[in-house]
Amino acid sequence: MLKQPQQPGSGGRKASNGTTGPAGVSSSVSGMNSGNRTPAGRNRSSAKPSFQSSPVFEGVYNNARMLHFLTAVVGSTCDIRVKNGSMFEGVFKTLSSRCELAVDAVHKRSEDESSTSAQPRWEDITDTMIFSPSDLVTMICRDVDLNYATKDTFTDTAISSTRVNGEHKEKVLQRWEGGDSNGESYNLENDASNGWDANEMFRYNEVKYGVTSTYDSSLSMYTVPLERGNNDNYRQREARAARLASEIESSPQYRHRVNLENDDGKSEEEKYSAVVRDGNDRERGRESPRDRERERGRDSPGANNREGKYIPLPQRQREMNRERAERGSGGPPPHNRLSGGYRSTPPSSSSSSPRPPLPSAAGPQPGASTSERSSPLSGRGGAYTPHHPQGSPSPGPASGPASPYTPASPAGPAATGTSASAAQSPASPPAPHGHTVPHSHSLPHSLSDAGRPVNGVSARTSPKAQRPPQSSRTVRTANTHNQSTATRSPKSATSQDTPYLDTSSVSLPAGKTSGPTPLFMVDVNEILGAAAKRSAESPSSTEDSKSNKVPSVQQRTQIEELRKFGKEFRLQASGGSSSSPSSPAAATPPAVSEVDQPNAAKPSSDASAEAKPLPPAPSPSQPQPQPSPAPAEDPAKETASTPGAPTAASTTAPVSDRQSPAVPQPARTPGSEDARSDTAERTEGVADQVKKSTLNPNAKEFNPIKPQMPMTKPNTAPTPPRPTPNAVVLPHPGGQGPLYNTPYLSYVSQIHSVQPPPMFQYSMSTVSQGKYQRTKGSVVAQRSDHGNSAPPMLQAAASAAGAPLVASPYPQSYLQYNPQQYGQQQVIQTMTPYPGQPMYPMLQGGARMIGQGGGPHPQALGPPGGPQFPTQGDGQQGPQQGIYAPQSFSHHSGAVHQPQPSSTPTGNQPPPQHAAPSPGQNAQSGPQPQSLYHSGPLSAPTPPNMPPGHTSPQGSYPIQGYSIHSHQGIPPSYPLGQIAQAHVQGAMSGPHHSGSHGQPQLLMLQPPQQGPGSVPQHPQHGPQQGGHQHFYIGHPQAMQVQTHPASFHPPGN
């Protein structure tokens, strides 16, 4: 007994009484206390400290079990005895790390009262009191249901989610290997008996235990037998009873209540499934049986996983529609494709479902994860974009846009990583999906489907939610696609916000998945088996995965992400990662694949294979297939992206909000103008791809570096598109930085314009990015692949689009487009660069980056981009630009400062390769990746805003870039750069906008300096390179930008 007044003896009270004045309470309390009590305690304010003070686990918070049980009693009534003997009763609210107990609605109980008999008076209740552990003798919580808050552990979500008290464990789900016999002896339908018959039980007990039942069926011991009479009275009563019974049983109220009582089985499941994503699963399940069957089934698991994530209704519906469409059209064709591409995907799908079982599966997942990551980064928009891309594929004409996809190539870097890792194509698609889980899912499927459909029918692709529209669109025309994308984007936009959140979550998983990347490798291996190209990529992917693995911490998250990705990937695989949505990298490959698919079913498979291979050999192959198909996808993406740019400005706001919007924008842009330019690019791209194939080796080399990047893996997915940009950026760091920076600014501004609304999203993305960052590392590795793939993509696009447009359009279109697209793309790229920043290191490491960066951009692109940006961006984006810039900056800074750079290197590698191969290609690759990313993101967001928008690609880019940046860059930036960046941001943002424009031109000029060798290429690439240049410029600015990022981060945070 310490009577010490103050102390804590009894515990400090928080001054706030609910209603009554604190003083009153305290007085009452004091009164309550024998006087000795610790009046002083009342006034304590320790409560606050307890909670707030322990952000970092410390004290009791380190004791998981203690924390668990004390948390489990939150909200229950507790009796607290303090050392002076007084007892308080209240509602346990929480505890601090120092084990200080916060109790609400506390009143002092007299010693006598053992029960709660005496109700406390209002005046006796203290709103909140905090009891110091030094005063506490015991706290007794009576009649606590310790299972009250135990989460259900029997839903897919609960099972798959491995979070326990903040601890992330990877739980590998195992595929049910029950064999074909589904319990032959277990035919539930035929067994009509409701458990044991009573007589059976009696007999059993008698035989087994010698117990003889005295059961009397008449229940004479419990009731009186009904005496039936024949008199009127009895009949009347009987009739009345029957009437009453029928009345009651026929009343709706009765039925309702009976239903409530008896519907727990299915209804419950339905409820949860409905609320979550069972719908998709179900659909998939249905589908699987019908068409894709096993593969689908696998996919479906993935889908389920995705479903696990919350999918906005709109998305779900879309997916449903898509799936249906796919089912309808794609059934058989898909199989063919599946045989080719699907195989790769199947693994992924299988992996997704089986995740646990096989690495290979995991591999795919990782890929998916990467894609998801990218998608997350890009945001659902990315996923959307994929869809769009898919749709675009049909547009073939849009091939030109395909080149925009090249931006995808940026994604490619990241994506490449992903794509390479797991049948990139699948993975990449997933990635996009990732954000828009539904979309992504659908995308993959759609992609695959689309690809298939393309072969068979475009409609197939559309089947998946987005696909349907896309497919139709795709079929129709690039333009239509653009529109469709636009339309889609709206949807996405609508859903985007939510999607974003989801995506963010997804992205996180993706990041985790990075760890899984190894899985991708497995997939990759499979893919390799499919195609040597793949094999080549796979190595890189493997490397990436390894690198990813290195970061254990990130690995977990990455693993999760990978799983998610895996799921998504599956989809993608089916969809044809080509959907590009997955993210530039993945997307590009996917796009390619898609494109290919469109051309021919085989192509699609090839595409999937290509996606991985893309980097090296695949790209070549892809290009061919892609030409026709690619055009469609690329166009779609590009169109989307391009539109995005123009529209981006207008839509930017929406886009920005949606995050994905950015993607949509890209999609838009690609739509009209870009498509053509893309075609030209594609032609180039093809050549580039070949070159790139050579590049791939480099990519592999980079991969080693990537390991560091694991963090960035998620980013990688997104980054892939960016990679090129990143690569560019890296070069900048090396030397041209300043010039590029200006471009960045311009880009940023543009982006901002587009993204203004997105900013929120960005923040979201940034958050996710953090997670992504982890993945990014892996992604980076992938990126390298992607980079390769990206080129292929580009090539494909070029080939596709190129055929028509390539020759003449190229330069012009590029120039024109470039401005917009580039602007957006660049922005994105800039963004990517950030993510890429990691890559920067890589780039720095390799001269390539510089070459690329310097080469192209500056001159041709730079100026155009700059101006355009200003125009577009300034108006709308003004505010947003600031934000965007931050992201991009953050990425840059983040990348630079953080590990990401290392990851970027991979990205860089690709670029270098590109540069080496051919400037044009490089440029394309760069843009494509970006475009992909953009397209992905943009498509989602932008579509609505910018449907038609020329700049959509750009817009998409920005968005993507943001997303990417946020993912990749942000994470890194957070630690190092973010803060710094944040500071800078304010200043930087301003400068960027205003200055950026002006600078951009300068930058343009500068780029040449940097990449004399590349310069030739650059001209062509101009736009793309411009973006790179921007990046370069960005570096200086990057610092500023970083500040922006910081701002971004804040939102994200």
């Binding site: 998981a64 084990c99 552990p133 606590v144």
Partner: protein
């Protein structure tokens, strides 16, 4: 009051008993122990005897003596299930509001009958609160002292008629309870007489 105790450490799953410095004997299964803060969490059978519930006791070992380890268990404790924190937070908020609401009514001088009625209504209609001495149900019906059916006022409609039914049933149940108690008392008397 120091906490000597045989054990400086308690393994999860072991059963212990101890006396607090206030002379209270506690016994239960160790579910958590924090060496740093010297806090021990016991899980005991519910004091109300309900099988699905437990009493959870947080003990400050600094104020405990005679710690006895009844039996020790070395098995690894089962993994912890994840908790739905928001659910818990909601419960805490709800509990607090309920308690404050009741206290408010009590402090307003509401009769025991009124409090009982409030409890009854609250069981079926969560949306009820005290306003001075009046019970406000669903913001539509006002029940003022002495809380009889005829005291239910409000806009004619389903809400009012429903509340009236609830109030009516409440008092009817009260009556039947009393009669039941009487009859039971009589019954017990009879039994006692018979047995005797």
């Amino acid at each position: 009051m120091a906490a000597p105790g045989p054990g400086e450490y308690f393994s999860v799953g072991s059963h212990i008993s101890c006396f607090t410095c206030l002379g209270q004997r506690l016994q239960g299964e160790v579910v958590a122990f924090d060496y740093q803060s010297k806090m021990l969490t016991l899980k005991c059978a519910s004091s109300s005897g309900k099988p699905n519930l437990n009493d959870v006791i947080l003990i400050n070992l600094a104020y405990v003596s005679d710690v006895d380890i009844i039996n020790d268990r070395t098995e690894t404790p089962p993994p912890l299930a994840s908790l739905n924190v928001s659910k818990l937070a909601n419960r805490a908020q709800t509990e607090k509001e309920d308690k404050l609401s009741q206290a408010y009514a009590i402090s307003a001088g509401v009769s025991v009958e009124g409090q009982q009625l409030f409890q009854t209504i609250h069981k079926t209609i969560k949306e009820c609160k005290w306003q001075e001495k009046n019970i406000i149900v669903m913001d539509e019906v006002i029940i003022s002292p002495p809380y009889q059916v005829e005291n239910c006022k409000g806009k004619e409609g389903n809400a009012l008629s429903h509340v009236r039914k609830v109030v009516e049933k409440h008092f009817r149940d009260l009556e039947s309870q009393k009669t039941m108690q009487r009859s039971q008392a009589q019954q017990t008397q009879k039994d006692s007489t018979l047995s005797s």
